[in-house]
Structures are given as C-alpha cells and as structure tokens.
Symmetry: C2
Subunit: 340 residues, 2 copies
DNA sequence: CCTTTGTGCTAAATCGTTTTAGCAAAGTAA
DNA sequence: TTACTTTGCTAAAACGATTTAGCACAAAGG
C-alpha cells in the first residue's frame, strides 16, 4: 500500500536538486518562456507524476489572488429552472477550469447581499447573478470595486452591467400570438416580480400582441403577483380572471404554472376546452400534466455559455473596461395540448 | 465615496501599534485564552469594524489546512430530488459556516473519481457522496487517506463508512402494502440501479409485502432497468408488465416515474382504474399529473442535517476513529388519487 | 530579598505557491 | 581581446493568516 504523502513543489525541487522556481515554471507551462531547458522540463514533469504531485489551490490562490472559483447566486436551487441552469453553468465553468459555488437568495435582497459578502471573503473570482428586486446597490458596489460579474435572466435599467437575457418582449409576444391563433379572445396573463424589467417586458409583449391582432387589452386580465409560492393568492387571481371571462392564459414562470394548474383544476376549468394555457419555462411536470402544457423554452445552455464566457473574459482578460456586453437570446417553443 | 481598500490583520496591527499575533488572537475569539486584556480586545474589534476587515480565507486555509468548504457529489443537480437535497444541505452547512461545492457524476464512476480528485486539490474539508455503482475503490481511497466523508442515499456492503439512508426495505414494504390495500393482486415494480444495495432493499420490501399478504411474487412483474433516462426501455418494460396483467405499479425513483407516466398514458393504461401507482420521491409534477401520484417522501431535511452533522464531527472532531455512524431514517407517504 | 507565578504582549516561523531580480557560464560580434 | 547577448538557472520576497516560544514586568509567597 503506497503511503501517498502529498508532495509539494519543494519536494520535487529537492528530489531533483533544483530550485522551486524552476519547478513552478515548468508546472505552469512557462518552461519555454522562462528558458528552462527541454531536458530539465521533462525531468520535472516526470518527477511530478511519480511523486503524484497535486497543486495546492489555497497556496496558489493566496499568491495569485485568483481562486478559480465563481459564485452563482440564484433564488433557489430547488427550483428546477435554476437547477437546470446551474447544471449547464457548471459544465461550462469546468471547461475553463473553474468550480462553481451556488448560493440561494430566496429573492431577498438581504440574503443576496449577505451571500455576496460571504463569497467575497472566500475570494471568488467573479459572480453570476440573478439579482432580486431592490439589489441595485449591491451591483453598484461590485462595479465600484471592479469585481467581475454577469447578470443573467434579468436586467436593471439603473445599473449598467454585463447581461445575458432572453428576448422577453418577443417571447411574450409570440406566446400570446399562439393563444390568439387558438381563437382565444380574452387572454389573461399571470405575472410575478413585476418590478423586474425583464418581467415587465413579458407583459409588454403580451399586450402588444393583443393590440396588433385587433384585441383589446383588458386590465382585469392582467394579474401581478407578489410571490410565486403563495397558492392562495394564485387561486384568487385565477378565480378573478375566470370570472372576467378568460379563455386563454399565459403564465410567466414555471413555478407559477405548477401551482396555477392545481388551482385551475380545483376551480373546474378545463384545459384547453375552457381555457388555453402556455407557460414560460419548460418543466418536466408539463409532459405528464392532466393536460400537457405548452412552454416557452429558454436556451439555458447557450445562456450558460455566454455568461461564463463573459465572466471569464472579465476575470482573465484586461482591465474590465470593455463596454458592457448585453447578450439577448431567442427562445424556443414547445407546443403541447394545452393550446392546440 | 469611501474607497474601501481591503484591510489585513497587519493593517489593524499597525493602526493600533500592536502585533499581528495579538490581533489574530482577538479576531479568533481567543482573547481570554491567550490573555489579551479586555481593553485591548475591544480596541481590536472596533478597529476591525471601522477598517471593514474581512478575513482572507485563502490565507487562513493555507495555514490551517481547513477550507471551510465541503463537496457534494451527486448524480445530477438538475434532477429535482438532488436539487432539493442540495438546498437543504446548503442550509445546514451554512449553519456550521461551511460552503458547499456541488459536482455531478452522472452516475459514472470515472466522472465521480475525477471530481473527487479535482475537489481534493482544492482542499475541501470533506465530502457528501452518492457514489455510483462500482465506486468502492474511490471510497476506500478516501478512507485510507483519512479524508472525511459521508455516504448518503446509498450504501456499500464492502466498504464500511458513515452513512445516512432511509429505511428502504420498510419504505418498499409499506408502499406495496398500500397498493395491496387497494385490492391490487398483480403488483409490479420498476427499478433502476439494482446493483445498489439500497435499491435492492426496496425490491425486497416489495416482495416481502406481497408474500406476507398472501400474494405470489411474479418475476415477470419485477423489472430492472439499466438507466432511468431511456424512455424506450421504460416503455418496453411497462408494456410487458401490462401484458402480464399488472394492476399495480411501484416506481423506485422519481425520474423513472415521470417518464413512466408518459408511457402509461401512451399505452392507454388508466390510473388508477387499470393500474394503481405509487412512486418513490415526491415530485412537483405529481400534483398536477393527469392522475395525481402518491409518493414515498424522503425526509431530505433530516437527512441533510444528519449528513452535515456527521461530516462536521469528523472534520472538527477527533481523529476520525469513531465507529461508523449508520443513520437510517423513516420515510413519509403522501397519498393521492393514483392509489385511493 | 529572592523566587515563583501570572499577565500582557511580541517575534518569527510556517503553510505552498508565484514572481522578480539577478548571477554565472557560454555564445556571438567586433 | 573586449564587450555584449543569450541561456539556464537560483535566491528571496511576497501573499495573509496562525501558532509556538518566549520576553518583560508586576504581583505574590516564603
């Protein structure tokens, strides 16, 4: 049984009778640049392998100030939308040799701030953020202190930053048109987080689709909720739109939809006979729902790739004085029985 | 605009004209123990606050060998079961001042090993693992090298270790009895990962429930699948059990169930009229499924708490020569229309 | 008065890297 | 020959903390 004591650069240096610097140069691929002879470079590499050398990231980070770790702060990893995104993000991050630490804000700006502070202590190199309402100040702080970050899924008008979002307006517009093509005239929308520009844009797309198609916008059919997890509030809202004669419904988040579908059933509304439905975010649940639900599918993999690329460029690239990248991606649609 | 330069212990020491050691003692709560005068301790704390001092974890870790970070290696964070678990785990970890890095193995032992190696380089203090089939060697390595870890959701007979699992036998037994009480005589089970003891136990519980209730065990109704993500295979298996006259079905994982429900629908089997269904793991999807599905609910929060506690005790506690803790928790049940 | 004990603090080593500055030997150019 | 360049390497400082050993002084005990 080989008693693997963990070896350090110093061990390798001593074993070969050379200096630590030499070993470090070689191990970091700077052999050529630092004019280490080919023979010596090879010897170092061999010795590193036989001694089972593994770099100590703590030491490396302390010296370089880079931890090769990025933080992802989302509302809640147990929300499948974020979980899927997190998975793609980790894949992309690992391609660039970064690890991801996930933190949950629960859409509360205090938790959001607390997590940022905590993670900064741990010297993460940058952040991927879905900032809750009212967290402009935290973003400004990061900007002022030149900490690399990318905002995804949302955007703030008052704080310019690197952003990766979908075309929410267009997505809302297209989803609504689908319901219109279903011959629906009284289409409702159920929305949350309406202080977020991105969520507003979904509603704007919805409204414009109506007017452009000669339908009137009935304010009684536009419902703004405070939370997406309060079933009673959702039920109330749905009851109201049903009473107002809704025959079509656009949910703006997946979480809202899952609870909303429960409510619709409880209220005896049949899908799609009584009301056609389409939802943002594709959930597994939609495939086995009592009526399979159509969905606006966000390109999570592309979003992850762009987010990581933008972040890594900031971290490893220049001064971070590049113009802000505002990446906007198009969504896809999956049509199921809920709006045939 | 306050130009917050990040301050170090040295800065505080110089500002007060004392030594770094003194400052370190105070900031680590060792003032009393190290006989620092009360007045001085207070001065240090005040200065730390006004200078906005934040500990540098890299430096601390390098010196102490502890990173206050633990690794969670699961099959896939985008699987809601693991995502929920991850969320609870992070909550528990943060109570002990640990951050969690999540890695995905996709149930492949090579990826599992690769992630362990990667994370060990990063000096994580310990691991929470759901080891894939065939990863005994990796667990043994960790044991030999005295790296703290806890196995959750599964267990290996050949490698003794700290473990947190549910009582799989009992859960399988009870779930099956529920179907029997539904007057079902030809109950089937769909299983995956049958090389895992924990999964075998679910099947054993199933079988014993049948025999104890005077039913015969029909091997044609016991289906072992290789993967949980291959819909064609699942469909084939379900077709076979339907042909064999199944009127009850127990799914052993949530992922299996979601695909399985799609198949059942496609095959025209009505739930619960033609076949009663119950599933391990409660998914959001079950509440809005075409027939709401009953579920075996694992106590994820309790499991997280026990896992973190066990791990932290190893890390911070003694030599790690304590006897292995084998924690087994009971499950809960949620009954919905799929087996009334 | 001398010795012991206790109090309050500090200097310096250490963790494992990276990186700057520079040295000695060999090669090249005049 | 002299002077510059290139090649191949090293010594030592630094990153920011923790921790060990010990110093100086005061108080206490005989």
């Amino acid at each position: 049984m080989p008693k693997k004591k963990k070896s350090t650069i110093k061990d390798i240096a001593e074993a070969l009778g050379v200096s630590k610097s030499l070993v470090s140069f070689v191990l970091n691929g700077k052999a050529k640049e630092k004019r280490v002879s080919d023979g010596m470079a090879e010897k170092v590499l061999d010795m590193a392998k036989t001694m089972n050398y593994k770099v100590n990231y703590m030491a490396k980070s302390l010296r370089t100030g880079k931890s090769q770790t990025i933080a992802l702060i989302i509302a809640d990893i147990s929300n499948p939308f974020f979980a899927k995104f997190a998975r793609f993000l980790e894949n992309e991050a690992s391609k660039h040799n970064y690890k991801v630490i996930i933190a949950n804000s629960d859409e509360k700006k205090e938790k959001f701030k607390a997590e940022i502070d905590l993670l900064r202590n741990r010297q993460v190199d940058g952040f991927i953020l879905t900032p809750p309402i009212g967290s402009e100040k935290e973003l400004l702080d990061l900007k002022n202190q030149k900490i690399p970050f990318v905002v995804v899924d949302r955007s703030f008008e008052s704080v310019e930053s690197h952003t990766v979002i979908i075309n929410n307006y267009k997505a809302g517009y297209s989803a609504t048109e689908r319901l219109i093509k279903n011959n629906r005239k009284n289409i409702a929308i159920l929305n949350v987080n309406n202080q977020l520009v991105t969520m507003q844009q979904r509603v704007e797309g919805f409204q414009d689709a109506l007017t452009k198609n000669g339908l009137i916008v009935n304010q009684a059919l536009i419902k703004q909720l405070q939370f997406s997890h309060d079933k009673d509030l959702i039920k109330e809202a749905i009851e109201e739109i049903l009473t107002a004669g809704a025959d079509g419904l656009l949910f703006t988040t997946g979480k809202l939809t899952v609870l909303g579908l429960e409510c619709l059933k409880e209220l005896g509304a049949r899908i799609p006979e009584d009301i056609s439905v389409i939802s943002f975010d594709d959930m597994d649940a939609y495939r086995i729902a009592y009526t399979p639900i159509s969905a606006v599918v966000q390109p999570l993999e592309d979003m992850s790739r762009e987010a990581i690329k933008t972040l890594v460029d900031q971290i490893e690239g220049g001064q971070g004085n590049d113009p802000f990248r505002k990446i906007m991606l198009d969504v896809n649609f999956i049509y199921r029985e809920s709006c045939i």
